[in-house]
């Protein structure tokens, strides 16, 4: 097994998803099975093959760096779990 409980804990922290201690073992097994399966890609020689980030039927356009829409703070804050005086609010970050 290449992916163990400690690795699950590490990537869960990176992904900001709380994974309780008692769920890590089962999750490690599941993720390890998926990773073991995708490793068959190593059978393919990809030396000198460029990676494809997008299907690239076209080049991405540039646009002018201007505001096209604005002044909608109230609309946007309507969906916020917590907001005050035109800002999103979060738990205290600085002591």
């Amino acid at each position: 097994m290449t992916l163990d409980k400690a690795t699950v804990a590490r990537i869960a922290t990176l992904a900001r998803i709380k994974v309780p201690e008692d769920e890590r073992e089962a999750l490690a097994r599941e993720l390890d099975a998926i990773l073991g399966w995708v490793e068959q890609l190593n059978e393919i020689d990809t030396a000198d093959v460029p990676p494809m980030a997008s299907v690239g039927h076209m080049t991405l356009p540039l646009r002018d760096d201007v505001v096209t829409e604005g002044d909608r703070a109230d609309d946007i804050l309507k969906n916020a779990p917590a907001a005050a005086r035109g800002f999103f609010t979060v738990p205290k970050v600085v002591e």
Binding site: K18, P51, A53
Partner: protein, 490 residues
């Protein structure tokens, strides 16, 4: 009206409205009743009967003035992945709890501007991650189809656009939108006996569609026949400056492509799609499809797509990687669910633990892993290199053929509750649909027959980039030859 107003194609309903055989309000009321009747299928997350009737009244006024737009007064339903202004949009997830977008997706805006009437928002696999509709926070959608022999087993409608496939098949909406990342339009269309068309990547704007894997996601129509798919795609498609990957190309007259003439068309039959353990009934249907096209004057050509078996593992690196980045925005700060925590990090972790379901967590974690330091080259870049080779396979094939014919899925629909314990078995549903997604190519599923159990099976056509017209033309011929008339029991 025997058969009823809900049994019409888009084209027939359009004509009936124009000839004043019925009004848009009558047509909409009939569909609203159907929506209520099929509530046990759990296909809708949000019903919008009042705004539907308001839109229908507006359509009747326009029809009376002779100002009908292309989809005037036609009731359709929207996968709940498209943001709809002021109407709850969930993506099938708890984490978007209470989210009402302050804007409208480009595709739905195009549909409303063409006069379509929206019946509501359709259930789906959470964040479009699934092939069964069982990963939805709102519970599974039940297929309107039942197996022969009177057992009461409930089947999945496929996924992720399972609500869309179920309502179109059950005559609840004339058509529906879907989205397809690895097969999410085509696989449920196949399972429910309808047409599902994923156009070329870039044909429809992704703006306002909740993102899953941005290099793969593409919207498309789900309809009861090929002509309707052509008509609806014509309205959904088009360049949108708000999506930088949307193609700055004119939208062809897709309906005009349905000439019924495939004489001389070269149809590729990829030998690698004869996968191990494929049920004989799938193979037989494929042979039948080849025969139908040959009888119509097309020329079947055996081709090779050597990397076919590597498409799924490639997809299951790339899609989760992109998803882990796209889903980072669900942090309990700007919209949706927030679960309190003592610190900001703890609030994030609690929110995402409670808001995401098991399959979404699994994919976000896989994605995070393959993008993390030390694994990025070995997994993510490797997969992107294989993706290049898969796209090249198609380029090479399309030097010799005009379109490629395969089965849509390796089996008919499975029962709700099956394949739950093994994510890998579930992923195999997309074995035939994922390669075209990785290459960004247009592909359609056409209902072609029934399994021995009496469940629908589809055939799948893949075309060159931005050559939806050839795909539609060949699909029209398959449809005529297949003469699929089976109906779901509900």
């Amino acid at each position: 009206m025997s058969g009823g107003l809900t049994d019409l194609t888009l084209a027939a309903a359009r004509q009936g409205l124009k000839r004043r055989e019925f009004s848009a309000v009558e047509l909409t009321e009939a569909h609203i009743s159907a929506v209520e009747r099929v509530r046990p299928l759990n296909a809708f997350v949000t019903e919008t009967p009042e705004s539907a009737l308001a839109a229908a009244r507006e359509s009747d006024a326009r029809l009376a003035r002779g100002e009908a737009r292309p989809l005037e007064g036609l009731p359709i339903a929207i996968k709940d992945l498209f943001c709809t202004e002021g109407i709850r949009t969930t993506a099938g997830s708890r984490i978007l709890d209470g989210f009402k977008p302050p804007y409208e997706s480009t595709v739905t805006a195009n549909l409303w501007a063409a006069g379509a009437v929206g019946l509501g928002k359709l259930n789906m696999d959470e964040f479009a991650m699934g092939s069964s509709n069982i990963t939805s926070h709102f519970g599974p959608v039940v297929s309107p189809w039942q197996a022969k022999g009177g057992s009461n087993r409930q089947f999945v409608p496929g996924g992720s656009s399972g609500g869309s496939a179920a309502v179109v098949s059950a005559r609840v909406a004339l058509a529906a939108t879907g989205t397809d990342t690895g097969g999410s339009i085509r696989q449920p269309a196949s399972f429910c006996g309808i047409v599902g068309f994923k156009p070329t990547y870039g044909r429809c704007s992704r703006w306002g569609i909740v993102a899953f894997a941005s290099s793969l996601d593409q919207a498309g129509p789900m309809t009861r026949n090929v002509a309707d798919a052509a008509a609806m795609l014509g309205v959904m498609a088009g360049h949108d400056p708000k999506d930088s990957t949307s193609a700055p190309l004119p939208v062809p007259d897709f309906e005009a492509a349905l000439t019924g003439d495939v004489r001389g068309l070269r149809v590729g039959i990829p030998r690698e799609y004869r996968v191990d353990n494929m049920p004989p009934e799938i193979d037989r249907l494929w042979e039948l499809g080849i025969e139908w096209l040959r009888d119509a004057g097309a020329e079947p050509v055996e081709i090779s797509l050597p990397l076919t078996r590597y498409a799924l593992p490639t997809y299951y690196i790339i899609a989760p990687a992109e998803a882990s980045a796209n889903l980072a925005r669900y942090d309990g700060v700007r919209f949706g669910l927030r679960v309190p925590g003592a610190t900001l990090d703890e609030m994030y972790e609690n929110t995402r633990a409670a808001g995401f379901g098991a399959e979404v967590k699994r994919r976000v974690l896989i994605g995070t892993y393959v993008l993390s330091a030390g694994y990025y080259d070995a997994y993510y870049i490797k997969a992107q290199r294989v993706r290049t080779l898969i796209a090249r396979d198609f380029d090479r094939a399309f030097e010799r053929v005009d379109v490629i014919l395969t089965p849509t899925t390796p089996s008919a629909a499975f029962a709700i509750g099956e394949k739950l314990d093994d994510p890998l078995a579930m992923y195999l549903n997309d074995v035939f649909t994922v390669p075209a997604s990785l290459a960004g190519l247009p592909a359609i599923s056409v209902p072609a027959g029934l399994s021995e159990d009496g469940l629908p099976l589809g055939l799948h056509l893949i075309g060159r980039a931005f050559d939806e017209e050839t795909v539609l033309r060949a699909a029209g011929v398959l449809e005529t030859a297949a003469a699929f008339t089976a109906r779901p029991s509900l």
